[in-house]
Amino acid sequence: MSIVQLVDVHKTYPLGKTEVQAVKGVTFTIEKGDFVSIAGPSGSGKSTILNMIGCIDTATSGQVLINDVDTAGLTDRQITKLRHEVLGFIFQSFNLIPVLSVFENVEFPLLLGKDAPSRSERYRWVEFLIEDVGLSKWKDHKPNELSGGQRQRVAIARALATKPSIVMADEPTANLDSVTSQAIIELMKKMNRELETTFIFSTHDPDIIEIADHVIKLHDGQVLEDYKTDEVERGLGALTQDKEMA
């Protein structure tokens, strides 16, 4: 069952008097529960694609469908509501709210919107998430009192707070050392299994790419490879746009 579909998506940015084509006719599908890695070198269009899937940017042409809903037809209010209810975000620089504690940062998304859970329900869920990312002892600390790895754990817990269908992570390990990076990806994988949340993360680290069960490799704004690792292992080959490109 597809949860994200990109159909012939193009994205062009104005750059002075010229235009830069960041994404050139990308098409792929992501299934519910996938642990997806969007890989590629700098400038390949990873962040632009994540932004469009995350509904924080719009495609110049083509379709971006989330749960079969074309995001191009939604108003800003509807898109914001969609982001709140369906999507979670993990950022490279963690982007925690500095004036809130760990607990409050994780709780914050739950307080938005009209259908906020009750106080006790909210408290239990936030406690569970914080415990699951191993930060129970740090729940009353402010972000500036945490290490990079701990901050990213908070960001993961926050991204999962509203029980979103999809969690987007743009280079979540770029600011972390290799050991911490591995731990963060493993935590994301664990959450993916436990909560059946679809994780889509971008990276250019080859070690991390291979942890994903669905890899989409980009180059110069186009899909170079699109494959599921278990199918490769079973010898079924890539899902692939590279064949078409060939």
Binding site: N51, I56, D57, D76, P98, E104, P109
Partner: protein, 442 residues
Amino acid sequence: MQLAKIALRNTTRQLKRTLLLGGAIAFGFFVFTVLNGFTGGLIETVQFNFASALGGHIYISGTEVSELGSEISVIGDTEAVLGALGTIDQLIASYNTRSSANTSIIFGAREENQRLIGADFGQEDKVLGAMNFVEGTPEAFLERPDGLLLPQDVIEKLGLEIGESVIVKTNTISGQQNVADLVVVGSLNPQDAGFGITLGFAHIEALNTLLDMEPNEFQTLNIYLDDLALLPAATGTLYRELKNVATVEPRTGGSRGPNFARAFGLGRVNRVAEDERWQGTKFSVTNLEDRMEGVMSMIGVMENISLIIFLVILVIIMVGVMNSYRMVMIERTVEIGTMRAMGVQRSGIRSVFIWEAFFIALGGALAGLVAAFAVMAGLELFDFSSSSWSFFLKQGHIQFGVGFFDTVVNMALLCVMSIASVYLPARSAAQLRPAEALRASF
């Protein structure tokens, strides 16, 4: 409320900037509150001083034409005026009757001019209690029907001791010279005088005798009301009632009624032309507002000046707040993008900025208010009795009057203006496209 909590905590992020902004707001509100408190207190003080000096809030004076055709200041028709009082009986706190005269006080070879007020101090216990005695006591004055209270400087000039007799010389109401022996039983602080005139006091019966008036006659009847808000209505009712039974000078616009000096027996004895003479007492009804017109216009000017200062400070604060929040918006661009990505609507982003401005404005205004109250309380402790501004002082002290409702309105105005000045940066922040806002971190 989470957004309000974030806004409140945001105020501590750049503490120096918050303190500067809050400090500017506090200073503006401090200046405005002190000035407003001063003018507010001034109105109350001047009202009090006028009422004390004139013996009430509404003043009924009377003039009659003597057998020789002179205008004399006296209320002979006491029944008419006392009857009219009955119509506003429920509004009256108290009333008193007074006579007054410009006299010469003679002691040995020395002579000093002195204005004397004759009153029934048994009734006017408030006035007597408010007097600032240098020597003697109110009780001693009440015990002696021929007692006299004089300003301390007059006593010094005459070389008098308390308990000594003096000769009091004045003209009767019909213009004849008359003298009486009175005993000085107390001295008053001359700085407590109203209108810059140092007053002496005697019992009304003693002064009436000197003025050749009957003991039950008087020159003015003064009324204290329970509620000053009812002053115009009560004055109007009295005027109409008196007009039904006697001759009354019209209450015209501007200064209203006869000139101040004549109403209080300060004028000369004038001859009335044959065709202008009247029978009985011609009344004149004036009130505190009439008497305070000049002072009120001065206070009005002061209030306008304080309002202009407040507006200028407000504009400076608004510009400061607006510029600061433009900087804040740039500093928090990534954070705004993060919040938008998490599902905060544009209105939510706006409200964070607006709450923040509100908290700074409220905090600043409260700090300014506290500082203003502290300074006003401190200034009220100082005794300025020796200054020449005694008419603007209440027993030598500056009085401040800060109205609760006015303060709340001013604080609300300050908060609204601060919110208005932050609105444009807040709207710009809300309009940021999440992807562009986050690009710095992505």
